[in-house]
Symmetry: C2
Subunit: 493 residues, 2 copies
Amino acid sequence: MPTMNSTLQRTIRASRLSKDLISHHRLQSPRLFSTTRWRNIRTTEMSESQLAAVKIDRDRLWKDLHGTCEWGKGERWGDGATDIGMARLTLSDADKQARDWFVETTESLGCKVKIDAMGNIFAIRPGKQTSAAPTYAGSHLDTQPTGGRYDGILGVHAGIEALKTMKDNDIETEFPTGVINWTNEEGARFPISMVSSGVWAGAIPLEKSYNLFEVGGGKATQKSELKRIGYLGDLEASYKANPIGAHFELHIEQGPILENSGGKIGAVEGVQAFRWHIITVKGRDCHTGTTDFENRSDAMLTAAKLILHSHNKAQELGCLASTGILTLKPGSTNTVPGFVRFSLDIRSKDDAKLQALEDALKSDFAKIAEGEQIGGVNERGVKGRGCTVEWQLDTDSPATKFHEDCVKCVEESAKDMLGTNSGNQVQRMTSGAGHDSVYTSRHAPTSMIFVPCRDGVSHNPAEYCSPEDCGNGAQTLLGAILRYDRLRAERAS
Amino acid sequence: MPTMNSTLQRTIRASRLSKDLISHHRLQSPRLFSTTRWRNIRTTEMSESQLAAVKIDRDRLWKDLHGTCEWGKGERWGDGATDIGMARLTLSDADKQARDWFVETTESLGCKVKIDAMGNIFAIRPGKQTSAAPTYAGSHLDTQPTGGRYDGILGVHAGIEALKTMKDNDIETEFPTGVINWTNEEGARFPISMVSSGVWAGAIPLEKSYNLFEVGGGKATQKSELKRIGYLGDLEASYKANPIGAHFELHIEQGPILENSGGKIGAVEGVQAFRWHIITVKGRDCHTGTTDFENRSDAMLTAAKLILHSHNKAQELGCLASTGILTLKPGSTNTVPGFVRFSLDIRSKDDAKLQALEDALKSDFAKIAEGEQIGGVNERGVKGRGCTVEWQLDTDSPATKFHEDCVKCVEESAKDMLGTNSGNQVQRMTSGAGHDSVYTSRHAPTSMIFVPCRDGVSHNPAEYCSPEDCGNGAQTLLGAILRYDRLRAERAS
């Protein structure tokens, strides 16, 4: 219930609105200031220019973001005050500090806070239709062990900044709005990424998630750590028990495309498909000095050919292929390895293209290992005795398509912010990486907002997103949420 | 001093000589059996057919060899009684047992045993010229942690079998003969291979060798372990203080060449040159999903190209190139590695050829990493942003040429054993691997004898050399030692 004091505060805050917004608002919403009981501005009553005039506080966002980055600081990489990476592993003491701040801050903004069985935190600002599923801004506060200050953290802070701005401007949404902090998006400590939105979406069993042990041989499980830091909630982690009305996620691009093309905002249409395979090449150990090329079954040389061919073939089919892990045995300078195992990460916007790449590689790898002339990699050199190749599918993530309504709200909000000459500054994009939005999109209209990060660098202490880009992203997020609220109301009526 | 009993034994043993030898001996050495004081057969008095008739005891050799393999047994790989690998690391308790057996056995054969400051054991059977440097059979009793029963062990046992056969046949050599057990040939526990012959040759400083710590973080040094097992000798480990007259080393080939070509004995002319380099490829970590090929500096893809090119170029120039170790960072399926380090082992019979290969690779690697069209590896795929390549020389071992006198003695001995139709069965070869003979050859006429091992497999529990091949090798060794003794006498006179 508003007190006199809070009414006064609201009046003061209302005066912060731009003249443009106020004038429009007066014209179209004569009830404002004209009724004895003060009334919030409703999104359905806001004009385009009024919407455009609701501005987040960019300095506050920047300050708040770097404020919470005091918890779980990592490696310093530059001289600036914020030139310090992050090492805030999920469910650590530092993560608990950030979570506690999240709960306190959102409650102080009048939100109701719910915590589910995966420790996902849902902060909800009431809307007119109190029982409806909220429109959320969601991301994560956990980081990689050698991570930066923007991956995930920016999305959560921008959501809170949006709530603050709505409160500052006494904006009343038709539907509840809110912010989600998803648990363990990174999968860095307990090794499944996006695990808690995955449980919420019914894609990952709760027990499997609970029983994940921390990497590096520790004894803690995801459940024991949830309990330890006090974030094992009672609410079922489920899209049925706790539905989402819509999900917007602001995130740094983690790639170089916006930066290299002069883009400011990416309106993300979906996430590309990816599959992670483990490829095992088996040959035979032999002495590097005593075994001529003809008599070798060189698993390392074969693996080198397969990695090169995966790149060439992916390029040919418009896909991506990458090897990030490679181990071999026995591992001695003068022993030709008889065993090599490597990861093969293949990606495409299109499921069918991905399948075509995989089919081609499965056939080609076996032939290349046998010494056949495929793709030029066996053109020179000696055939040798051949190796065998085994494939093991580790992760299969089909292509995700976000909801056009949400994508449009992002696009329009960004264009409003950047002006009519925005041109190439707003780009429709496909995310190369997975995010919690992949799972929310299975049960709720979803889109993401990308902002450039310097050199496309992420998962690195030197990850950097400028104050301007952080602010652009948060402003676009707020605009998208408000637009979507209006759209939901229109659709409902 | 021979007693009645030992004279009797000699007579009995003499009866074991083949009829051929006895008849020749009677014709040419009428003193035998005709003088009251029994007299040894001198090598200088032996005809070719007499020499050929001196036969080792193949069964005794096989039994003795597998007898000492009870100490330090490794992994069982087959059902047979001897189908068990070896794990007799240098200066371990098991190595001490084998050493104690070596000393006892050679002393019981009338040898004088000397132990030097590196624990190298020299067992010397007197010759007529007592003060001359002995003609030795040398090899090693230590093994790899997952080694076999023949690498090194066969050479020592064959040397002892040669001494036994000389004793059995009352053969008197012009110069002393003997057997050497070299310490830590493998370099598996204290990580420099052939370290003790290297110290003897003045190529490796004693202190450096003493201060080697055991691999895997143990606190023992080579010196502390020499002391612990009682094999830190007083004799200076030096070719000056303790010269070698000649060195013959029987060894399994550790490669497939003899087996594949029907060869029985390799008369080893030398050891190929090798260099071990550590190659570091530096690119930049990036996300596998968010970074297009154009914007990558993919150190793993680059390393794959370099490894393939090293193979192709080595083949082109008639050399060998191998990668046995590869590590990368950061090591995550969805991160393109910005750092790869791999070993590059290059070899050639010819120092100049090796240099030509190295020069070519140094130039080509840099260009390939930059994306230039070299050797076909950049023909397909995307150029990307390039990587840098650094070289670090780790080991440089120039080509070794053994002594023609010794090689000829091996060749003649093998041909005598195998008969006039030996044809391709006796082959001149170059050793692909290093051996203690590399260091002895710097200060003494040296050659090696190779025998086939199954599938060329070595440094593996399943390493196998048949009783026939073991016997052939030991027989050739004995023949080479006797022939060389005669040759030395001829040269001296």
